[in-house]
Amino acid sequence: MRPTPAPALLAIAIAITQGCSPNPVPSTGSATNAAASPSAPHPPVATPTAPRPWFEPVGPGSGLDFRHHIGTGGRFYLPEMESGGVGLVDFNRDGRLDVLCIDGGSVDPSQVRQPNHRLYRNDSAWRFTDVTAASGLRVHSGFGMGCTIGDYDRDGWPDLYITQYGGNHLFRNRGDGTFEDVTRHAGVGVDSLSTSAAFLDYDTDEHLDLIVVNYVRWTPEVERECFSSGGRRDYCSPLNYQAPAPPVLFHNRGDGTFEDVTREAGLLSAFGNGLGVATGDFDRDGRVDLFIANDAMANQLWLNQGQGRFRDDAPLRGCALNAVGIPRAGMGVVAVDLLQRGWLDLFVTHLVGEGNGLFLNERGIFTDWLVPDGPMAGSQPYTGFGVEFADFDNDGRLDLYVANGRVKLGLRESDPRHPYAEPDTLKRGLGDGRFLDVPFAGLSREDLGVGRGLAIGDLDNDGGLDVLVVRRDAPILILRNRVAGTHHWIALQLEDVRGNEVRNAMVRIEAEGRVLWRQHQPNQGYASSQDPRVHFGLGSASRVGHVWIRWPDGQAEDFGSLPTDQIHTIRQGRGTAAPGAFGW
């Protein structure tokens, strides 16, 4: 009798479920005669002690009056929950960081409303002007999710990439304060539900390539009815759609166009519900790798094999799942050298109950690190999105800011009127991976919101890092640094030999015996882009003894001693070759 596999095929069909389970610095200082040139002196603030609170909110009176929208609400459309990004970009090269804010719009087919992304020019002294209309930065359709920033055409003017549901957009900076939508010409119009994206030069051809992370293959028609505890209507988990969307890797041809190399690169062999992306040389083989944080699915660590090929080694290297093999809801992610020893760790924000996670990089092998006073401690009550490590108090130790906000109705509501709202988290770094909570996230009282995109940067060039948080369906949160105090600092603007932007350079400095590490990559966190300058807090050190840089092409240079409390422009090729300085 002929065997028929039909019952087994039926068994696969049983698995079909329908229900729910659930910016360049001022060019005033010429860099032509010096290895590194101070471009703007910034004397330390003469405050004897760091004031508390750490931040002072800046209101819409500043002119930065962005408000994020998600439409009419009530239908629980998936993209509404993940929308909202912010980018820091000196688009007019006046030395001041301008602000790009990403709106949602409306995803409801019956309530079409185009996203109202905004570009604010920083006029100094905490005054901003909405220049969206004059800049030509107009998107007529889709639902905004996030942004990333990079000079893809190497003309010296930073360009903007906006991720959306319903088509992404690349805006080329013309250099005259206006932008042109070159999406179609460049070939980067991903039609998916894109979230985070990053510019990187994975093949070291000096042209910035682009990785775009996608969440779920979603349309309003596939929206489902989902519930939270007790059966209340709520947003769905991405798992309910059983339709993770693969990322897209674009190779920059160098002629203003990109080619989709996702398949050739191998990135279609594993993917999940992508929300965050971080880039860096995680295995120190000299090539830039990719880490993609997935929501409720295993993460991918795409190790760059050269020749345009990548291999997912997350399962074996220990950063796919948590310590016991359980996938977590990865949202935002940053590559950070937490212990300051030249290895890039990965910090991923997660869902309430899971706690944020640090994958500690031990010579290329990651450990899901858990210590009572680590950066993950105490994060279980919150759902983290935007995230960045930065030295806010300039004491030489990295601090941590996480923008929190729920995706599901909670068991305990901090504010009954805004059931998804949560307070943000600020942790003061104590060094050696230990942290201490700063009350009210550095404010004078609790402030709730549904935090999504987070950008950190020195908006007033005073050496203190400021904070911007785009909150779902709410005004932007702008926090002016009040804690940097008398501590010294230094900021570096990195350029390649032709004066163009570089990515993923490793920077090591020595200041009065202390060695500090940073990777230069502003495109990380959640759907956002950070200050493009590399910032170091120096504590009481009034001089930086050495600045070593390992450039993306593998060359290492020593830029010698630099004065503090300034922003320096560092150009590749103007230092002293230091081939053994990094050891890899």
Binding site: I12, I14, Q18, P22, A320, G325
Partner: protein
């Protein structure tokens, strides 16, 4: 007959005194019992009952009525706590468990679940303190030590975790979570070599303990046993950490009444070979949600499995009429048609699903199923290959393709290639390893068959596949 009064040594006042004393003692006991009776506590009710799923609400109301009838019953309070917990209402659950503990202070599960509720409310430090207090008072309570250990691991307190899992291993030597917890502590201490025997012991106690296998994979990786690590990590991945069971956790299943829970339970019943029970369960849920497409669709799938494809067809016809763009009902109807012998209609339904979603692997598989029923194996193979293209990471699909190539087309090499593909995606699939073994035997590669059997024996020694493969292997 002598009267009692006349009996020697019996005097009336003394007798009265004794009787009075007994009476007073009884009264005193009654008073003490009355004073010490369980307090009449208010009954915790859902904060926003109107927003609850109607089936959940109805169930909770019934449980609350039970408490009202016997408000001083610790078990009824506990049942209410379990019902709240089972439906994710942890605030209310905590209150019910605290009430239970007040009524019956000697019941450690009440205090444990009050702390579990706190943990579920993401208040880890508070929960940890309560678990520790519980084990201090109840040092012989194994589930309490498990909770202390787990909570300590989550907060990074390795010392407390080590003590707790050591104690758990002593109290419950057959519990795999004891050595697994100690193994995780050793791994976090950077002592991978010491973790290995602990984790292997844990897997000896419970072969299917995926968290332990994942931890073992990390330990193997750390000591350079890369190939073993790769397999253990793959097999242990994507696990769910089920807490140590106890008398109350076993009850929770009966109180889960939300739609997602009904769907999951129905799937589990179908998977366990009891689709009849799934039909009943979904029928009950549909009384509360008569128009819910997910429940109806799941019911149709269960009906197919019970051999009632005609009834499934009626359900699916209604779903398709209501929403012709929904893909799943078309796919399931395709199976119903085939089960009823209407193979052409089955193929037509699968094609209808494909017209709605060309990249649906499930729709391609439904088409393959119809082709197979028509004995059109070549077309079936082509359809399954399309399914693989749509869902390249699903190991089940190449396995099915391998099965068709092997059984229907006698293409052993082709089948082997598909099975190898499935194993590459998931190295721990018992069915794939068994197929590899049988196919290797068939192709004369006994060594590879033995290796597959050994691997299968490590991963699933109790499985039917392992027994069958071992029986088929030639004696050495």
């Amino acid at each position: 007959m002598a009267s009692p009064e006349s009996l020697p040594g019996y005097d009336v006042p003394r007798r009265l005194r004794i009787l009075s004393a007994v009476f007073l003692l009884l009264v005193a006991a009654a008073v003490v019992q009355w004073i010490r009776r369980p307090p009449l506590l208010p009954i915790p009710t859902p904060r926003d009952a109107a927003a609850l799923d109607p089936q959940v609400r109805a169930h909770l109301e019934a449980v609350i009525d039970g408490v009202r009838q016997a408000p001083r019953s610790a078990m009824r309070r506990a049942t209410l706590g379990i019902a709240y917990a089972a439906n994710g209402l942890w605030n209310e659950a905590r209150q019910a468990f605290l009430d239970t503990a007040r009524i019956d202070p000697d019941e450690p599960l009440a205090r444990m679940y009050a702390a579990v509720a706190l943990e579920e409310l993401a208040e880890l430090p508070g929960a940890f303190r309560e678990f520790q207090a519980l084990t201090a008072q109840e040092p012989g309570f194994a589930p309490g030590w498990y909770r202390v250990g787990e909570c300590a691991l989550r907060t990074g307190d390795l010392g407390a975790a080590e003590s707790a899992f050591t104690r758990l291993s002593t109290l419950a030597p057959d519990e795999w979570r004891g050595p697994a917890g100690l193994g995780e502590v050793r791994l976090r201490q950077g002592r991978a070599a010491d973790a290995i025997p602990l984790l292997e012991k844990s897997l000896d106690l419970e072969t299917t303990a995926r968290p332990a296998r994942f931890l073992l994979g990390q330990a193997y990786r750390s000591v350079g046993r890369t190939n073993e690590a790769r397999i253990a990590l793959a097999v242990g991945a994507a696990s769910v950490r089920h807490p140590m069971s106890d008398d109350w956790s076993e009850l929770a299943h009966h109180h889960m009444k939300s739609i997602p829970d009904q769907l999951v339970k129905a799937e589990e019943l179908c998977g366990a070979g009891r689709p009849d029970l799934a039909v009943d369960l979904l029928g009950e849920a549909l009384k509360f949600h008569p128009d819910h497409p997910g429940l109806s669709h799941q019911q149709a799938m269960a009906l197919n499995q019970t051999g009632q494809a005609d009834k499934a067809l009626a359900v699916l016809d209604r779903l398709i009429t209501k929403d012709p763009k929904a893909i799943a009902p078309w796919i399931t109807r395709s199976y119903s048609q085939v089960l009823l012998g209407r193979n052409e209609q089955g193929l037509a339904d699968a094609r209808a699903a494909l017209s709605l979603a060309t990249n649906s692997s499930h729709a391609h598989i439904a088409a393959a199923n119809a082709w197979l029923a028509m004995e059109r194996d070549i077309e079936a193979v082509a359809a399954v290959r399309e399914a693989i293209r749509c869902d390249p990471r699903n190991p089940e699909i190449p396995l099915e393709l391998g099965n068709i190539l092997w059984r229907n087309l006698n293409d052993t090499n082709g089948a082997l290639a598909q099975v190898e593909r499935a194993i590459e995606i998931d190295p721990g699939q018992p069915r794939a390893l068994a197929m590899l073994g049988f196919l290797s035997l068939e192709s004369g590669n006994t060594n590879r068959a033995r290796a597959a059997a050994e691997q299968l024996g490590r991963l699933a020694p109790q499985s039917a596949e392992y027994r069958e493969l071992r029986a088929a292997l030639p004696q050495r």
